[in-house]
């Protein structure tokens, strides 16, 4: 019993460390990117408020984003970001919009 407990604890600790490290690194990398380039990708964004800069994509999607409210300078609130291969939920112009990470990769943000 004691052994099982120990194994469980070590597994838990390992995952916890990894999780914290990954998130911390993401956070650090994102902030550094914002500082140096004054812009960063939406796909790596930490929850918070930003402003939209530009989206690099084909015309069709660009237009859809435009009419959903992605105008340069518009405030974007990132609610959740589930990381690579996941999806991002943002709030723009009072409505909640879900984006896949593929699109978010081509969207640039700047500091509010």
């Amino acid at each position: 019993m004691e052994v099982i407990k120990r194994i469980a604890k070590s597994i838990y600790d390992y995952w916890r460390k990894r999780w914290i490290k990954a998130h911390f690194q993401r956070f650090k990398a994102f902030n550094r990117c914002l500082q140096h380039n004054s812009m960063a990708k939406l796909s790596s964004a930490v929850p918070g408020s930003y402003r939209f800069v530009v989206a690099y994509c084909d015309e069709k999607l660009g237009r859809r984003l435009l009419e959903m409210g992605f105008v340069p300078g518009e405030e974007i609130t990132v609610i959740t970001n589930t990381g690579a291969k996941g999806s991002i939920m943002i709030k723009i112009k009072e409505s909640k919009i879900a984006l896949s990470n593929k699109i978010a990769d081509n969207i640039l943000l700047k500091r509010k």
Binding site: R63, G69, K85, G86, S87, K96, A98
Partner: protein, 701 residues
């Protein structure tokens, strides 16, 4: 009073802004509504007589703007441009006023009388804001009506407003003047370019039919439909040259593309309107949507919660419908024997008792099941969880080459019907995604297949395991659909799935009335189908089994006589011929006939089985169809499961096939793939399962 005048009113608005709810209130009809974008994919008409006017309302699919790319949006734009409605009613979700006003700024340029409807006003109040509708009306010079769609508020005012605007609408100059304030001021630079284009457009007779102002702005906006219109004109070259010049000029001047600049101006206009009109009245209350979403859309809990929600649907349906289903089956048994007592034995008795009551009763027994299932599904649709489910499933779906939005059509056909599911694929932006989704939609267990599953599972599994087995069948249907999608993705429909962008509507508590209405409407369709098609098929199958009459042999007892009759009948002979094909998957001729009947409508499988077993057994100890199958020597649990797997996969019903044919643009190639491919695949799958089952002796009697 003058004689009746016809007014054509178009209802437009952003997706999920409540157009269909308002439409239902206006026309007293029960159209399908739900709390996810893309419920309406086809225009729907309804009419109302009001103060001597004959008003016909057209409910259009939701759009974000007039420039379009998915197929449901094309429906809306084509209607507005080609049919020329007398009055446009722009339904605005008051909770996101700014984004909704963006569409308004485009539509107002069409120079058609327009009314703004501020819907869902109660949600705005809940958020601690207030919209001053009088100020808005004054500012834009356009009538504004406040409604709360699901509480019937403001509908009368809206009708008055429509008539008032119709009368104004006859005077074109006045409309133009009135809407002047509501139009976006694009600034002098864009305006001069627009004017230049306008002059050229006015020269052509074909183009001058369309609102010039809109057309020239749409051109600068790089709208594909506007470009299409232009290409038909006589002076194409001239216009295109000017168009390029104007675009370059704007780009040089603003340093941005023309479309970005125009959108920016439109949003600037909308923003200033919102600033003057919306007042803060109090503190924003706690947002329930946010709280639920942190759990429901969580990275780790999202999919488990979704699975749990689905399981609750099945648990709910099966536990509550079980006693009622039993009651119904008792009723039909009693009804059958009573009718048999009244009508003297003979052909008429056999036709009515075996053919009609046996067939239709077999289908109608499952009415409570359908009722509860629709109720549970309606709850999830109206609460707003469905859109979230699409969002959660996007991750899974994209691995199989499907789009997250494909989930909505799939869900619609699960327990609903494949035909609306096929129509709902219009919300998908890319052709490829749409085609893949349409090919896998028929694999889902629709409301018509449900009775077949309930019958067979009910016959071979104890009550404790029924919900579990049913759940497993649903999982199986999803697994099959996903693997077929993957297969298509790898072979004939290669390519990337389109990106996933979707608006998530706020949660709200569904109204009991709305749920009951939806439940009733869908279930009623089921009953109506049982009343018309199933009666017809039942009679047909009865005739096929009852004629020609077998010679009466005195030496045989009643059961053997019945078996002889089946052997001699048309259906028995046809069954004998096709039996070799079905023998390797454990089916006799009768079941093969039932499956062929199922091609017309899936409920007919149950109806046909009912008729077949009613003829094949003597009348005295009449059992319910379920018990007959459970005790029949020729059935075994393995054969039941094989039968279900075949049912699940093989060619969809005629209605779905017809819709599929139309929606794929009348392509025989895809049609053949759907009908023949599915049937062959079904046979192979059933063959493998049956042979493995025989080999391992699982579920064999």
């Amino acid at each position: 009073m003058e004689e009746d005048k016809n007014i054509k009113v178009a209802l437009i608005g952003n997706p999920n802004s409540g157009k269909s709810t308002i439409f239902n209130e206006l026309t007293d009809s029960n159209q399908c509504v739900g709390n996810y974008p893309g419920v309406t994919v086809e225009k729907k008409e309804g009419s109302k007589k009001y103060e001597g006017y004959n008003i016909s309302f057209i409910d259009l699919p939701g759009i974000y703007s007039l420039s379009t790319y998915s197929d449901d949006e094309v429906v809306t734009r084509d209607f507005l441009l080609k049919e020329e409605p007398d009055v446009i009613v722009d339904i605005i979700d008051a909770a996101s006023l700014e984004r909704n006003l963006y569409l308004f700024t485009q539509v107002v340029e069409l120079d058609i009388p327009i009314i703004i409807v501020l819907n869902m006003a109660d949600i705005v109040e809940y958020n601690g804001q207030k919209i001053d509708e009088k100020k808005l009306s004054k500012l834009l010079g356009i009538s504004v009506v406040v409604t709360i769609g699901n509480k019937k508020k403001g509908i009368g005012e809206l009708l008055d407003c429509i008539i008032e605007n119709y009368c104004i609408g006859k005077d074109v100059g006045k409309v133009f003047e009135m809407s002047q304030n509501a139009k976006v001021d694009y600034g002098d630079d864009i305006k001069t370019e627009v004017d230049k284009l306008k002059v050229l457009i006015a020269k052509d007779s074909l183009l001058s039919k369309f609102p010039k102002n809109w057309l020239s702005i749409a051109l600068l906006d790089n709208d594909s439909s506007a470009l299409n219109l232009i290409s038909k004109a006589n002076n194409v070259q001239e216009i295109l040259a000017q168009f390029k010049k104007s675009k370059n000029h704007i780009k040089e001047h603003f340093g941005e593309k023309a479309e970005t600049e125009i959108a920016d101006k439109r949003y600037g206009f909308a923003n200033s309107v919102v600033k003057t009109v919306v007042q803060k009245t109090g503190q924003k209350k706690i947002n329930i949507t946010e709280i639920i979403d942190t759990f429901a859309l969580n990275r780790y809990m999202g999919i488990p919660i979704f699975a749990l929600a689905m399981h609750i649907i099945f648990k709910f349906t099966f536990t509550f419908s079980e006693p009622m289903t039993n009651l119904f089956s008792l009723f039909f048994k009693w009804f059958g024997s009573t009718v048999a007592g009244i009508i003297p034995p003979g052909i008429a008795q056999s036709l009515i008792v075996d053919g009609i009551i046996g067939g239709v009763g077999g289908v109608l027994v499952f009415f409570p099941l359908i009722l509860f299932m629709f109720f549970a599904i309606a709850f999830f649709e109206d609460s707003g969880y469905m859109a979230r489910a699409a969002f959660i499933m996007d991750k899974v779906m994209s691995r199989f080459g499907l789009h997250g939005k494909s989930f909505l059509p799939l869900m619609l056909s699960t327990n609903g019907c494949a035909a609306p599911g096929l129509l709902a694929t219009r919300i998908l932006d890319s052709k490829r995604d749409r085609l893949i989704t349409m090919l896998v939609v028929p694999f889902m267990i629709c409301g018509a297949k449900l009775p077949v599953f309930a019958l067979i599972i009910g016959a071979f599994f104890s009550v404790k395991y029924q919900a579990g087995v049913m759940f497993f069948m649903y999982v199986l249907s999803v697994v099959i659909a996903l693997s077929i999608a993957k297969l298509l993705n790898k072979t004939i429909l290669k390519g990337e799935t389109a990106h996933f962008v979707m608006e998530l509507p706020p949660y709200h508590m569904p109204t009991i009335k709305g749920l009951l209405l939806k439940m009733w409407e869908r279930s009623w369709m089921y009953v109506r189908k049982a009343g018309a098609i199933i009666v017809f098929i039942s009679i047909l199958i009865w005739v096929a089994f009852a004629y020609p009459k077998a010679p009466i042999d005195v030496n045989l007892n009643q059961n053997e006589q019945a078996a002889l009759q089946v052997e001699c009948s048309f259906a028995g002979r046809v069954g004998k011929v096709i039996e070799p094909f079905f023998k390797p998957i454990g089916m006799d001729g009768g079941r093969a006939i039932a499956l062929i009947a199922g091609f017309v409508a899936k409920e007919a499988i149950v109806g046909a089985l009912g008729t077949i077993y009613a003829i094949g057994h003597d009348e005295e100890n009449s059992q319910s169809l379920k018990d007959r199958i459970a005790t029949d020597k020729d059935w075994s649990p393995l054969k039941g499961i094989t039968f279900l797997i075949f049912c699940l996969i093989y060619a969809p019903c005629v209605v779905s096939v017809a819709v599929f044919f139309k929606e794929t643009g009348s392509s025989y190639k895809w049609l053949a793939l759907l009908v023949v491919g599915n049937t062959v695949f079904a046979w192979l799958a059933a063959f493998i399962v049956f042979q493995i089952g025989i080999f391992l002796k699982i579920g064999v009697r």
